[in-house]
């Protein structure tokens, strides 16, 4: 089976009939690269909790983050769904690598949309090309779903610096990132401020171990009278929370894509295994109950993929995409858990063991229903639309 799936290729062909051949060749080639260079590392990265720096550098060199940005920013000027299709492929190969790239991508998106010309030149180009890595600092110990409850504070002092005090929790790419896109309370509400890693008073805790995505870095951040120049404010003072919301809407499409990739990996392992494993003198694949499960897995993956690529299409065309992104995230992430659950079940006792490397997908998928807004928060937002 080609790594870039037939289902993906058909969707891309129909989203972009005029460029179908060109885009499919790009994606096929990217899939090939991911399969040969990234996939073989995934298991060790999970087992040993290795930060996937090498993988990320290789993927950056391929031009991955460049995909949706204009050429004057060293981007490739390709449609957003192409980026999303690539994100799915990376998620399928190694979710630890994909989550680190997804968060980096969310920061790029925010800096592109809300940053000014100088910030594009000074920071965004380096981030798009992967010369530098970014982190997204919103959550705090007492402010997760309710992010407005944050207490980290930034005050513009007389020397023309933002003075930041407080702390953040559960920040992906901590200690590895060069720039931290930090949200803080200010005199006018909230602000987004870019904090370089080597700023005095800025530090991080130790790595927080977790059930899945074990290669990704997760830490708390501390700000102790951190001073950054006032030019590091992104966009307007007072708009920070709006920026966070908009960035998360985009980020949710990447999380949905990553979840589809994880589910696809679990499905392919299941198909292979059920053709090999015998019970009662038959291959598992000959049992109707196995087949019904596989049919459900395929159908749900296809559905989630359509929702995800559609939300990506809207984002790329600069139409409203917030609700569609939340729906795609809610459906795709919960779907990935169901699919991975079936995958473990069809692998039997073997599926439960570390040897099988199937439960990794379930463990990785679980974060997707929590990060960048929990499933419940997706339900709050989506239902809010119904009752507005």
């Amino acid at each position: 089976m080609p790594f870039y799936t037939e289902d993906q290729s058909k969707i891309i062909s129909n989203l972009f009939p005029e460029r179908a051949e060109e885009y499919n060749q790009l994606l096929e080639s990217f899939g090939d690269f991911v399969e040969k260079e990234i996939l073989p590392t995934a298991r060790t990265i999970d087992k040993q909790g290795i930060f996937p720096k090498e993988n990320m550098d290789k993927i950056f060199r391929q031009g991955f983050t460049n995909i949706p940005y204009p050429q004057d920013l060293e981007g490739l000027g390709l449609p957003y769904p192409i980026y999303i299709a690539c994100m799915e492929l990376v998620g399928k190969a190694c979710a630890s690598t994909a989550i680190s790239l997804a968060i980096h991508g969310t920061v790029c998106d925010g800096l592109y949309r809300f940053g000014n010309r100088e910030q594009h030149e000074k920071y965004l180009k380096d981030l798009i090309t992967g010369r530098k890595l970014a982190a997204f600092g919103l959550t705090e110990s007492n402010a997760g779903s309710d992010a407005r409850a944050m207490t980290t504070q930034a005050i513009l002092d007389s020397s023309g610096h933002w003075k930041i005090n407080g702390s953040k929790m559960y920040i992906t790419n901590s200690a590895k990132a060069d720039y931290y896109f930090v949200f803080a309370k200010t005199d006018k509400g909230y602000a987004a401020i870019l904090v370089p890693n080597e700023t005095q008073g800025f530090s991080w805790g130790s790595n927080i171990t977790k059930m899945g995505l074990r290669g990704s870095s997760l830490m708390g951040l501390n700000f102790d009278n951190v001073l950054v120049p006032k030019e590091n404010l992104v966009g307007e003072n007072g708009e920070g929370f709006e920026y966070a919301k908009k960035m998360l809407f985009g980020g949710r499409i990447t999380i949905a894509a990553l979840s589809v990739g994880i589910a696809q990996a679990a499905l392919e392992k299941t198909i292979t295994y059920s053709k090999e494993r015998e019970a009662f003198g038959k291959h598992l694949s000959e049992f109707e109950i196995t087949r019904a499960k596989v049919a459900d897995m395929m159908t749900e993956i296809h559905g989630a993929r359509l929702m995800t690529y559609y939300a990506a299409l809207l984002k790329g065309r600069e139409q409203d995409f917030g609700i569609e992104a939340c729906e795609a995230k809610l459906y795709a992430t919960e779907m990935a858990l169901r699919v991975c659950n079936h995958a473990i079940q069809i692998h039997g006792g073997y599926g439960y063991t570390d040897e099988a490397d199937v439960h990794r997908h379930w463990r990785d998928a679980k974060l997707m229903t929590i990060g960048e807004g929990t499933s419940e928060i997706m339900q709050v937002i989506i239902s809010g639309k119904a009752f507005e």
Binding site: L26, S29, F33, L78
Partner: protein, 262 residues
Amino acid sequence: MVEIIVCFKHVVDESELKVDRANNKINFEGAKTKISDDDKNAIEEAVRLKEKNGGTVIGLCLGKADARKSVKEALAMGCDKARLLSDPAFQDGDAIRTAYVLSQAIKRIGKYDIIITATGTTDVYSGIVGPALAEFLEIPQATFVSKVALAGDKVTLDRLMEEGVETVECDLPLLIAVAREINQPRFPTLIQIMSAGKKEVVEWKASDLGIEASTVGKNGSLVQVTSTQVPKSARKKILFEGSASESSERLADALLKEGVVN
């Protein structure tokens, strides 16, 4: 500066082929296609030689119109331009006819220092095209090459032999048929794939190369492929019963008899 021509073939992806169980035939319909794996090593070596010594790499591919996909990939990997030899008259030719058509195209290109091919292709692996091409061009050749070092007008080559490595020296121009071990082909980046579409690709037909249609392709070939079948590999499924020591002894005897162990 070195002028390189690299030959590659657009083939069906053997790992994606399906077998029709009813008649034991391979079903080529809708099969995925690619550049023959070892030809990617040839392209990679050509591009590395260019990167190191300066010059140009021209990709040369004999195939049907759908080979354009492979041509684009070769350009993405670093070939500067390409010639696609495509004519219904070329179809179903044997290895010697393929080498002849390639030699005519190379004569038309004119200038070259090094021609690079793989030792064989993943679909038929005849191993004939490279050597035959060198004969048509009347230039020296080296096969199974695992290392190339260029210095002035001379190349030093390592040839991978069954029990060791043979090092030879040769003047330019020459033909090099590389072994798979020579390098690890690169994955072109997205931008390289995108810009490959802007590189020069010229299509040549038999008449462009001064080739009489009846002398090439199926008609001009001495070897005709009449059918392609999948070897039958039925399992014997012999069961040895009895106590562990008895049955293991009989298993050992059977393995010795079959020549599986000795």
